[in-house]
């Protein structure tokens, strides 16, 4: 068979494209993991959080989160309007805004609180893995999405870095990665939960204030907890279908 120069010029790029797709192969998936069997969320037990920052450090280690950016962070609230007595709350003034601090995302803990008046509490924050997430709806290229098992992920090979999703997230959970120049966020440690491990933040939490929850698993303790505790999500009025559940959440938390 004789190939002319013209035929060669047509064949070469086609062969290159074909070889690329052969080399790329298919990604390795966890063999026993079925997407349709899970619906992931998280439970955050506010009365248990001591603000040690272990979760923030663990997340940074596990996911190579760049300094100054956070996939999860901890905020400390101080409601000075709360007048406490031994019997409980005497009065509260909802018109006074709470004082919120989060030094370096709470990574190295918090300064010792000197003002003993009022009510203090820690609020760990992270992606709420919304079922109807605003951030995935605004992506112009289909680079961010809710997986069939309920985790909001970013396809970083597809992301343009337009940051529209960063603006769309009502919880401020996304950032543009300073080196990769693409959107980055909490993956709910997708590489861990699909292999039967819990997330890095849950693994590192010393008080069990964070619990990974699989809402499709009938044996998960989350179901009983949701029925027997005062549990809320952040910004319920936005109807995002947030799946990070906060136990004993104060009404002043935004």
């Amino acid at each position: 068979m004789k190939i002319t120069r013209r035929q060669m010029l047509i064949l070469l790029p086609a062969a290159a494209v074909a070889w690329e797709s052969v080399l790329a192969g298919t990604p390795e998936t966890s063999p026993n993991y079925k997407l349709s069997d899970h619906w992931w969320g998280m439970l955050i037990d506010i009365p248990k959080c001591i603000g040690c920052g272990n979760c923030v450090r663990a997340c940074q280690t596990e996911n190579d989160v760049p300094d100054g950016h956070f996939r999860t962070w901890v905020e400390r609230y101080h409601r000075s309007d709360w007048l406490m007595a031994n019997s409980g709350v005497i009065s509260a003034n909802p018109l006074i805004d709470p004082e919120v601090i989060s030094p370096d995302g709470g990574k190295e803990g918090f300064p010792v609180a000197t003002d003993t008046e009022g009510k203090y509490f820690f609020v760990p924050k992270m992606c709420n893995h919304c079922a109807d997430s605003p951030c995935t709806q605004v992506c112009p290229v289909g680079a961010t999405f809710v997986t069939p098992d309920g985790v909001v992920l970013v396809d970083q090979t597809y992301c343009l870095g337009c940051a529209y999703c960063v603006q769309a997230c009502p919880y401020g959970c996304r950032y543009i990665h300073p080196q990769k120049k693409v959107a980055d966020k909490c993956t709910l440690c997708y590489h861990r939960i699909t292999k039967g491990l819990t997330t890095a933040c849950c693994e590192a939490c010393p008080t069990g204030a964070r619990q990974l929850a699989d809402l499709k698993n009938p044996n998960d303790p989350i179901h009983e907890f949701l029925k027997t505790h005062n549990v809320q999500v952040l910004k319920p009025q936005m109807a995002t279908g947030a799946k990070v559940f906060y136990n004993e959440l104060d009404g002043s938390v935004r």
């Binding site: 998936t29 280690t61 596990e62």
Partner: protein
């Protein structure tokens, strides 16, 4: 056939239109990733790729497989729910890959246009090779205070101390067993 007599230019145009459409379909076939649309308006294969990332925290089950003595002591103590890696750090360490991959001519041309990703790092686990990677043996004088330093902001039922007045700077393990620290529960040294 009088109608089609002068319509030859229209057929030629229609032919061009069909050709352009075929070119569009062929181009689309190559440009759109195979798994796009598998689960929705995104690349389905991305789910598997994100799930492939190697873990750093191995989980307390991995530690307990060998360190049964520490697990046994922890089980009944006040630190029963504190996982190993919460204090000792991640079990798996990431080391930079020293080997630079060899590129063929085609890959070198591509690398000129699209900068290549950094080389895949090596992951070494203490569970696979106990001598190569050692988890942290924490300094209790520093570590314990991260959680137990007294602050009005912490929940009232959480055990808190002023480290300076409580131990005058001595490491906590002088008196407490870190794996089971309660003094009344046999945690005293």
């Amino acid at each position: 056939m009088s109608v089609l007599k002068d319509a030859e230019h229209l057929f030629r145009f229609a032919g061009l239109f069909v050709l352009a459409f075929v070119i569009f379909l062929v181009a689309r076939h190559y440009i759109v990733p195979k798994s796009f649309g598998q689960y929705g308006h995104y690349r389905g294969a991305a789910i598997g790729e994100i799930g492939e990332r190697p873990a750093r925290f191995a989980g307390h089950q991995t530690c307990e497989a060998c360190h049964t003595d520490a697990a046994e002591m922890k089980k009944t103590g006040k630190h029963a729910h504190v996982n190993c890696e919460a204090c000792h750090g991640a079990l798996i360490q990431r080391l930079p890959n020293p080997e630079t991959p060899k590129l063929n001519l085609y890959q070198r041309v591509v690398a000129m246009i699209v900068p290549p990703a950094p080389p895949t790092p090596l992951f070494l686990s203490h569970a696979d090779d106990p001598t190569s990677v050692k988890p942290i043996l924490p300094d209790t004088a520093v570590l314990c205070a991260q959680c137990h330093r007294a602050s009005a902001a912490k929940p009232k039922n959480f055990p808190q101390v002023e480290p300076d007045s409580h131990s005058t700077g001595l490491p906590c393990e002088t008196c407490h067993k870190p794996h089971s620290p309660g003094m009344d529960a046999g945690g005293a040294k």
